[in-house]
């Protein structure tokens, strides 16, 4: 009996050891994956060869030849496909950034409203969340596009205010034109930022020492606006505005925020706000009641107690879901393709149609969105970690 027990380990076959099995399994997975991708590559190469498709990224430097309706950087049909993709990329960034800001503000309001002691406010917030979360974003986008377009007048009857005007061609504004020396305003901005940073540090020390505090945020905002203007002024005001001019079909010159942008922005922020509101609510509810009661006992008004005591602690819980909502919003901005806003997917799709370079264009899409996702989550992780230190 005891002999057998000692003898058994030696007689154990090699494949019954967990380590060996693990290695074997991994090798198998590796081989299977390699074979899969090799087969895929082989198929694709064969397919492309038999179909005489030219692969590679050379097409990016060819002339695009098509126009886009909305661009942050100078672009015309004479530019390359690569530049057209850049236009789309910046348009994606623009609508995502604006959407994130709007959605966060709206989401915060709705989330707090849902916790409100006012029964009606809480119910309305609940209804908002339920409706927005349970109707597909694409449908909401279509509805917003109609709601934005329908009430807006024809270009010739545009609503004007100074040189700004609003019509179904969009919101047209005078465009700033920067002459030589405009970079001074950036210098001013940099100086203001440094000054702001120094000021807030000084203020913190001051507050810790004496308990007195300055309205740093207001001062900072003032600095950030005033200094660039001052520097620009010192450089001889190399800034002029290109005013839009009425033409047969609306306006020429200036800059125009197209209705597609407005509809997409509205749809994205209103949809995402519902999810953010839920995150905010969960975060606030996770802060123990004692915190709010203690703040009240110290004499803080409910508003201040919320801002200074509850929300900062709630942030720890809110940030992880908030990150994924920001990512979702960025990814959802690709729905632009359905209403003709020239984002990355939309311009890429046009290029795909023109050149037939499916693999290359899809690769570019995936790489760009993946990097955006990874960057956002890296930033949020950093923010999260920083906040965690402060919070404890």
């Amino acid at each position: 009996m005891s002999l057998e027990a000692t003898a058994r380990p030696r007689r154990r076959p090699v494949w019954s050891s967990a380590r060996w099995r693990g290695l074997a399994l991994q090798a198998l997975v590796l081989i299977a994956l390699a074979a899969f991708f090799y087969d895929l590559a082989l198929n694709t190469a064969a397919n492309m060869a038999t179909r005489h498709i030219v692969s590679g990224f050379d097409f990016l430097w060819r002339k695009a030849g098509f126009e886009v309706s909305f661009s942050l950087i100078p672009y015309s049909g004479e530019d390359s496909y690569a530049r057209a993709l850049m236009v789309g990329f910046f348009n994606t960034l623009l609508v995502s950034a604006c959407g994130i800001v709007l959605a966060t503000m709206l989401g915060l309001v709705i989330g707090l409203m849902r916790l409100s002691r006012n029964w009606l406010a809480a119910r309305i917030a609940t209804a908002y969340i339920e409706v927005m979360r349970n109707v597909p974003l694409l449908l909401q986008l279509f509805i917003w596009y109609r709601l934005v377009l329908t009430p807006l007048p024809q270009a010739r009857d545009a609503i004007t205010l100074g040189s700004a005007s609003l019509s179904n061609k969009g919101l047209t504004l005078p465009a700033p034109v920067f002459g030589d020396g405009a970079w001074w305003s950036w210098v001013g901005f940099g100086v203001a930022a440094v000054a702001f940073w120094l000021l807030s540090g000084w203020n913190r020390r001051q507050r810790e020492a004496t308990g007195k505090s300055m309205p740093v945020w207001w001062l900072g905002a003032l600095l950030l606006v005033a200094l660039p203007v001052l520097f620009l002024f010192a450089a001889g005001w190399p800034l002029s505005f290109e005013h839009p001019v009425r033409s047969n079909f609306g306006f020429r010159g200036g800059m125009t925020l197209v209705p597609e942008f407005m509809a997409l922005l509205l749809a994205l922020s209103i949809y995402t706000a519902a999810f953010i509101a839920e995150a905010v609510r969960a975060g606030v509810m996770a802060v123990s009641r004692g915190q709010g009661e203690a703040a009240a006992a110290l004499g803080l008004k409910p508003r201040l107690a919320m801002r200074l005591v509850v929300l900062p602690q709630a942030l720890r819980v809110i940030i992880p879901p908030l990150t994924s909502q920001y990512l979702n919003l960025t990814k959802n901005s690709s729905l632009a393709v359905a209403i003709g806003y020239p984002d990355l997917v939309s311009t890429g799709g046009t290029i795909l149609g023109q050149t037939g370079q499916a693999i290359e264009v899809v690769t570019i899409w995936m790489v760009v969105y993946l990097s955006l996702s990874l960057l956002t989550s890296a930033f949020m992780n950093w923010f999260n970690a920083r906040h965690r230190l402060v919070g404890r």
Binding site: A46, A49, T150, Q154, T350, L352
Partner: protein
């Protein structure tokens, strides 16, 4: 991961001798399936449009039916796949469809870098513009469109032509492109765009679908050449020949006066050797004419196509011409002997 895939692919493309080329010909595939897989548009009146029961009609559709009649002897043996502008070439390249008959413009790059082969020109078209004459009463030609916003479908030659034309005319404009034609038309009708642009045939078709067709004016200018025709894959000459010669047979039939009504009688009675060759009438000593067999089809290939679908003129009239709501003139699509461009090589 995707990058790895690309490098792998490029490496493989360089080193591996093509292994997949040994697939059977499309003609055999079609026979084996028992139907022709035909890629059409998602709905363009006169060319390919489904009704509520998914019955397709149109010129592009009829051409596919003619192929099915010639190859399988039955014009109904067609499976239609509606495709977007973006999908159409991939669908053909991947073998999802056997022939793309979707108002597709024949261009050089599509021949040379997409691995496609155009089998003929079913319809000589050109790109035009339509504007709402109620909203823009002063627009009478494209040159009046300076500064206008123009809507069109993305991923087509249309947007490129607009860019070229407006640049050469030194006109500025704004372009708004949509994934689907329907969306572009909707934006035009909502007044988001001042003009809508596509092939002229398409303009007439879309105009009929608008709320008040007479309020919409098709501008006189044609800014491009748009030869529309059926497309097949490169590297399958037998199938290419079938598609090409079905088209030629339809044109020849019109020229020879063969219609779906009279083709049976003409086969029996006509002594015209051209008709006899086209319809595969055996010579008096019983020898087959051999044109169908030479292509790998039955001798009655052309007869079946003409009888079941009609000649080119009948197809034109029924779908886009005087017999249709579109009422488009034959114009460039008349036979060469009537001053048009439709010309087919002889069956000999």
């Amino acid at each position: 991961m995707k990058n790895k895939l690309i490098t792998l692919m490029l490496g493989a493309a360089a080193s591996v001798a093509i292994a997949g080329a040994a697939t059977a010909g499309t003609l055999d595939d079609v026979r084996q399936h028992g139907f022709v897989q035909c890629g059409v548009s998602q709905g363009l009146m006169g060319f390919s449009v489904p009704d509520a029961q998914n019955n397709w009609t149109g010129m592009d559709v009829d051409f596919c039916r003619a192929i099915a009649a010639a190859v399988l002897g039955d014009a109904t043996k067609v499976k239609f796949t509606p495709l977007t502008a973006k999908e159409r070439f991939t669908a053909l390249q991947s073998g999802e469809i056997d022939v793309l008959s979707r108002n597709t413009t024949w261009t050089m790059s599509r021949d040379t870098s997409l691995g496609l082969k155009f089998a003929g020109i079913m319809y000589y078209d050109g790109q035009g513009f339509i504007v709402n004459s109620k909203k823009h009463a002063n627009v009478k030609s494209v040159n009046d469109l300076a500064g206008a916003t123009i809507c069109t479908q993305s991923g087509t030659t249309t947007e490129l032509n607009i860019a070229d034309y407006f640049k050469s005319q030194k006109l500025d404009y704004k372009l708004l492109t949509f994934e689907k034609n329907d969306e572009a038309i909707a934006a035009y009708q909502d007044g988001r765009c001042d003009a809508y642009s596509t092939d002229q045939s398409g303009l007439y078709a879309q105009r009929l679908k608008m709320q008040v067709p007479d309020d919409n004016l098709v501008l006189p200018e044609i800014i491009s050449k748009e030869p529309l025709g059926p497309v097949v894959r490169q590297g399958d000459d037998a199938w290419f020949n079938v598609v090409k010669w079905v088209y030629f047979a339809l044109v020849n039939a019109e020229e020879l006066g063969l219609t779906s009504q009279n083709v049976e009688d003409m086969k029996k009675t006509s002594t015209n050797p051209e008709i006899q060759r086209l319809l595969g009438v055996a010579s008096s000593d019983g020898k087959a004419a051999g044109f169908g067999i030479g292509m790998g089809l039955d001798e009655g290939w052309a007869e079946a196509a003409i009888k079941q679908v009609g000649n080119y003129g009948e197809i034109f009239d029924r779908n886009v011409g005087q017999g249709s709501p579109l009422k488009i003139e034959r114009g460039k699509n008349a036979l060469w002997k009537d001053g048009g461009l439709q010309y087919a090589p002889p069956v000999r």
